[in-house]
Amino acid sequence: MKKKSFSILMGVVLTFSLLLAACSSGSNNGKNNTPPAATNDSAAKTEETDKPAEPEKPTEITIMLPLNIAETPPDTIKNELEKLTNTKLTYQFFPADTYEEKLNASFATGSLPQVTYLKNQATFVQMKEAIRDGQFWEIGPYFSEFPNLSKLKEEILNNTKVDGKLYSLYIGRPLARQGIIYRKDWADKLGLAAPANVDELFAMMEKFTTGDPDGNNKPDTIGLADRNDLVYGAFKTASAWFGTPNNWGERDGQLVPEFTTPEYAATMDFIKKIRDAKAMNVDFAATSKTDQVNMFTSGKAGVYIGSMQDVDSLVKDLVKNVPTAVVDTHSMIAGPDGKLASWSIPGYNNVALFPKSAIKDEAELKKILAYFDQLMTPEVANMMFWGIEGTHYTVVDGKAKASADKELTEREVKGFKDSVIGEPETNGMYDGFHELPARIHAEQLIIENEKIAIADPTAPLDSKTYTEKGTELQEIIKDATYKYIYGSIDKAGFDKAVEDWKKRGGAQIIEEYNAAYKK
């Protein structure tokens, strides 16, 4: 019934396509009823592409994706993309903070657009049930028809498969970006070198707190600035240094969850030690990322643990407040047993799915895949990732150097940047040209990190119970971890929480993962 009235609507819309083309381009109404731009004034302007005698009608595509900046970007990049790919694109940006809500609400009401980006691996796990239900197109069988898409890395595609079938395109990310960003000027003043192991790291944080590194004779500095996030905050990165497996690890031939290992407990003790020494923001369990970043950029805190690529934005704001500040990155920190390690992601940080509720037939799917195939050419990928050459970036030594007007690039390009499928190796876009020494160092370290990266063995595996209540159960562990660090429970109390986790479905998860692992 809904379909029928929809097609009638479509007919009406088409009749007035000319009229509506003007209004609908600005509307994000969650439906894919954007009319084709019959006037095609964008295609007329296209000079760089060979225009066939009979211009093909542009493909209409509606795309929903998370936005990591405050405002929806203007159409600058979108218009260029449409020209390059002969499409009529409707981008629906929703703030990343509340993206899961938006995603689930659209999903529940059957109004997902043709291309639906998820938010991260966790939302992907959540969607698996619906994927198994057949609510999204399986795209694997069509891959061979698209030369550029077939370049996507096999091992990463494998990590995104559901029951061995491919449903999504992935957004590539370096495997291991984790490390520390620290105030080198403070370390130099206090006579500290980059920490070679966790004890030196602790010593640095303590010195930063007590040694008056900013020289104002006031005890107003702390070592570490952390936030209420056990994964992308400091905790997980530190846990890798202690030898904790990445989510799951093999012990005596069995897969076990990370929080049952003694290394995880050692990490909790480490963070507890920092907190007890007041060498970090003691309220970190209630601190948002914004507040955490503020602590660093205002010159209050000296160490930030997380993605080393954050250094650009941190430095940008820090030098406004402390012009003399010098920042460096570092990641080779040995654990108690002297080993180096870095946890890694499965090579992607997000995926795009294709809901059957919005794409009605194979032909339509192929047209959309053809758009993504074009996205994987250097020309289009660069446009999306770096912006317009000369305006948003310039090419230096075969690398893209972002323009000095960072605000403009952020406003116009950032929204699209986070949705580029693949990575430079596969889509041919430029690597970044960096000037900030700390960032150059970070990029080197990211390559080094890859050699010591610990993978999550469950990334390509499936557990029905985990899909169903994994996230929910994880809360138990998360709460217990914080409580242990805050000293409101002891190790026995933590073990009790682990038991609780097992009782409420964790034991099943362990069983299912092990069964899948042995296959």
Binding site: A108, G110, Q135, D283, A286, K356
Partner: protein, 320 residues
């Protein structure tokens, strides 16, 4: 003023039914009034009544792709899951406790404030004060919670700095279960108390001044007048507001609680609303969270009916 309206409404109903032609004439005569009523009626039908059919998914394993028509019916499965959930009792207790605190600590405060404001004779002062206590109502919870965060954090929050200055131990307001409820209720009072006085002040304003004069003649002091005239006069307003409040039993301000919630205080801070949000929107369990929401509304309904009955037994009007 509210009462006056209600009386009018009652009188309208009591007028003998006009004949059909007369009714038509009447309708025609007031047609613009009905046209103006239309958007309101439509609003309630579209946004309040039609969505009620959505409750059906509480009894299904809802699959968005298949829709309400095609999803499998599972009876009370989700309710069973809710009642057997280990956290359920805890969440219900938290909800009811916060509600109890609301009734006990927040509810009387606007009444007291209104009585006090009413005794202020200096009108400039009275109006200024009134405006000042209204204002916090217009700040969103995000702002109020952020202000509290800045004041209460143990990393240089002013309250903790003061405590330390005067030689006390720092208190971890934000991250300890003991402080969640006091923080919550103080924020509620701070934001809402002034706003809550509006209706009471209006009710007090409608009291016949003659009564006070008579009481003064009989030698009643200020307090006596409050006790024997003002309070009885606003008694029915208090009761109606109390019943309405009870109807909102589980509406504790989702946003507010959610903002205060963290890993350290979850055992006292998780309430039905936040649980529905986490289960439904963050984890995509539509049927389950609908069942929880349904359960919550059901409790609310039972409580309103009970409260209304009680009010009527005590000789008050009630809300229906």
């Amino acid at each position: 003023m509210q009462e006056a309206h209600q009386e009018n409404a009652v009188q309208l109903v009591r007028v003998p039914q006009p004949r059909t032609s007369e009714l038509k004439k009447r309708l025609w005569k007031n047609k613009w009034l009905y046209v103006m009523l239309l958007p309101g009626v439509l609003f309630f039908i579209i946004f309040k009544y039609i969505p009620m059919f959505g409750l059906a998914i509480a009894f299904q394993d809802y699959k968005p792709f298949k829709g309400i028509g095609g999803s499998e019916w599972v009876g009370f499965k989700h309710f069973e899951r809710l009642f057997t959930e280990p956290d359920f009792l805890n969440i219900l207790t938290n909800t009811l406790l916060l509600f109890g605190m609301n009734l006990l600590f927040y509810f009387p405060i606007p009444i007291l404030l209104a009585l006090m404001l009413n005794e202020v004779r200096f009108s400039f002062f009275k109006r200024t004060f009134q405006t000042l206590v209204y204002l916090p109502h217009f700040m969103s919870w995000v702002i109020i919670v952020s202000i509290s965060f800045v004041m209460l954090t143990s990393d240089g929050g002013i309250v903790n700095e003061l405590l330390e200055y005067f030689g006390f131990e720092k208190v971890n307001f934000l991250l300890s279960p003991e402080w969640f409820r006091p923080t919550y209720i103080i924020q509620v009072i701070w934001r809402e108390a002034g706003w809550g006085t509006i209706i009471y002040l209006a009710a007090i304003a409608s009291v016949d001044p003659g009564l006070y004069e008579a009481a003064r003649m009989d030698g009643a002091g200020r307090l006596r007048q409050v006790w024997h005239i003002t309070l009885p006069a606003i008694r029915s307003v208090i009761i109606i507001l109390l019943i309405l409040k009870i109807g909102d039993v589980l509406e504790l301000g989702f946003e507010h609680v959610y903002l205060l919630l963290n890993s350290m205080n979850r055992e006292v801070a998780e309430i039905i609303d936040t649980y529905v949000y986490t289960a439904g929107l963050r984890q995509g369990k539509f049927s389950y969270s609908t069942a929880i929401g349904f359960f919550k509304s059901f409790i609310g309904l039972v409580l309103v009916i009970t409260a209304n009955r009680l009010a009527k037994k005590m000789g008050e009007e009630g809300i229906y």
